[in-house]
């Protein structure tokens, strides 16, 4: 959501100034139609009354939010208390996304560092190699991963073949498999922004620090990391946010035994038992959480400066 800065008032730009508004129109039209309108629609739907078997009735209702936060027991006649079901599902999704982001950072940072420190000519080849798996559709990559880690799949056959394990490691249908799937799906989103940041880093700064007797760890912590931090944060956001709403990996690799935010929303819109306002409300709550954390981050950045 890059803000469209006000057009410059310097002499050279002045000639363009009268045209600024009409030239911006297409951009605003696209943002309005494809971003603001759908989000607005979702917010509106979350406050409507559910129509039985899908659809909405145009009457204001807080039922969707009530269902999310307030529990009245299975039969709806117990005293109201906090509904932990959906908070629990959110918590699990947050945790899965956090682990996947951590894994991506662990592998992505050294990878990006490695690429950025190659001679310029070979960097593009390394970047190209990183993107190759992503020419394949996400669904197919996820199914392939399942094939690799299943009980009688190549990984387990290999581990048993070399005698490292006596039986197959139970990987498929576990949380670990989900995290692995998310990690695998979104790794390049971590590598590319960090690469962009490290590439711009002036390595003379590290040398200067070393000349002043800073240890390598201290150089990394106090010189390098602050400079490449925006890249790391961008990478983390790009991995964390889509992981939060993912439902392909949880369904295929995790065995769909427990709802994640993505599959919970999906369930509200498909099938004959759908509950559109509730699905919209979950989406609004999820989006508010993401927005809040972004705002929090932006404020932290500003106060640091």
């Amino acid at each position: 959501m890059a803000g469209a800065g006000p057009s410059g008032k310097s002499g050279k730009d002045a000639a363009w100034a009268p045209l600024a508004l009409p030239l911006m129109l297409p951009t605003w039209a696209v943002i309005g139609f494809f971003l603001l309108l759908p989000v607005l629609l979702m917010v509106v739907y979350s406050f409507l009354t559910k129509e039985f078997r899908g659809g909405v009735i145009w009457e204001f209702s807080l039922a969707a939010y009530d269902q999310f936060f307030i529990s009245r027991g299975l039969f709806g006649d117990e005293p109201a208390s906090i509904e932990w079901t959906y908070i629990g599902i959110f918590w699990r999704s947050l945790w899965q996304a956090a682990v996947a982001t951590g894994l991506c950072l662990l592998i992505g940072f050294p990878t990006a560092w490695f690429i950025a420190t190659r001679p310029p000519a070979s960097r593009s080849i390394w970047l190209f190699l990183v993107t190759i798996p992503y020419w394949v559709n996400l669904l197919i990559r996820t199914v392939s991963l399942k094939f690799l880690i299943r009980d009688n799949g190549p990984l387990n056959e290999f581990l048993m073949g070399i005698g490292l394990t006596s039986g197959p490691l139970p990987l498929v249908n576990t949380n670990l498999a989900v995290q692995l799937g998310l990690f695998y799906s979104y790794l390049p989103f971590m590598v590319l922004p960090i690469y962009a940041a490290v590439e711009r880093y002036n390595f003379a700064l590290s040398e200067a620090a070393a000349d002043l007797y800073a240890s390598r760890w201290r150089t990394l912590r106090e010189i390098t990391l602050p400079v490449v931090k925006p890249g790391i944060i961008a990478g983390c956001l790009l991995v964390f946010i889509p992981s939060l709403g993912a439902f392909l990996a949880p369904d295929l690799l995790g065995g769909a035994k427990t709802f994640m935010i993505g599959s919970l929303i999906d369930e509200q819109f498909k099938g004959s038992q759908g509950n559109w306002p509730f699905g919209a409300a979950i989406s609004v709550i999820l989006m508010s959480l993401v927005l809040l954390s972004l705002l929090f981050y932006a404020r932290a950045q500003r106060s640091q400066k």
């Binding site: 039985f52 299975l74 629990g88 299943r150 009688n152 065995g255 035994k257 099938g271 038992q273």
Partner: protein, 341 residues
Amino acid sequence: MKQLRALALLPLMASPALAEGELKLYHWFEYIPQELVDKFQSETGIAVTIDTFDSNEAMLASLKAGKIGQYDITVPGDYMVEIMAGEGLLDTFEPAELPNFGNIAPQWLDVPFDPGRKSSIPYQWGSTAFAVNRDVYQGDINSLTILFDPPEELKGKINMLDSQGEVLALASIYMGMPQCNTDRDQLKALMDMLLAAKPHWASFGSDTAKDVLVSGDAAAGMIYNGFSAKARAEGANVEYAYPKEGFVVWMDNAVLLRDAPNRENALKFLNFLLDPENAGTLTNYTAYTAGVTGVEPFLTEEIRNSPENNPPADAPNGSFVAVCDEATQKLYDAIWTNLKK
């Protein structure tokens, strides 16, 4: 289940309008063989136009959004017939209007979703129970305990369909309870039973129900009979069960739509579908089961003798997934969410 319909790619043709008028069919994708459409056209001179949909809900939404009045016939699943009738989307006919009405198999005549068959005729039907890999488990599989209280060999190796309606219906059958139940103690017992069974299940998956049996990821799985037959054809040593407690059945039905532009032709087509030879051609194509008597001579050897399509003589009757009212449905929704939270 839907994948079975993709047996062959056939162009959905719109032939030139013939003198006898036309018929507008709103149908599943790849769920009628072209030879059957051709046969109807050459027998009657009626030009058939087919538009397709890919789910009951999509079809309902599209008709409600204004397509009603443009089509003569569509093919909803059992529960959807009841919903469509409730929405006033169906026309009715008298048995006398269909000379072949008497060919409807007696057990499918008075169905709960259209008592007395006033708007619909059977198209194809199948069952939903479970299949077991016989290399892993050799014991008796005649009971739903295989899914809900499994033997040691199958624990942790079971795939369930990721479908609320069918799982909860089968669980109710296992517990000997009616569907759309409002008895508190019974519903609590149903939920407790499901929560106790869940640790024995490896995964939930509908589209993957066949694949996990073929690959060996699951040793037993809740599955549609047609899917189980496909798993067997792909080399899995699986046996499909018709459990003694009962099982779930589904049926797709051809229905006469309200405001059909070609009502007379639509009745001719419904009558055509009830002819045993035509029902046989259809069944050979879909690999499910016809709801018409006298089809056997027209079936291929493979379809006629398929163990998945032929319940043993002592098998109980199957039950359709019932359509509950809103308040009751809410209870089942809550049970399902509790099961998967």
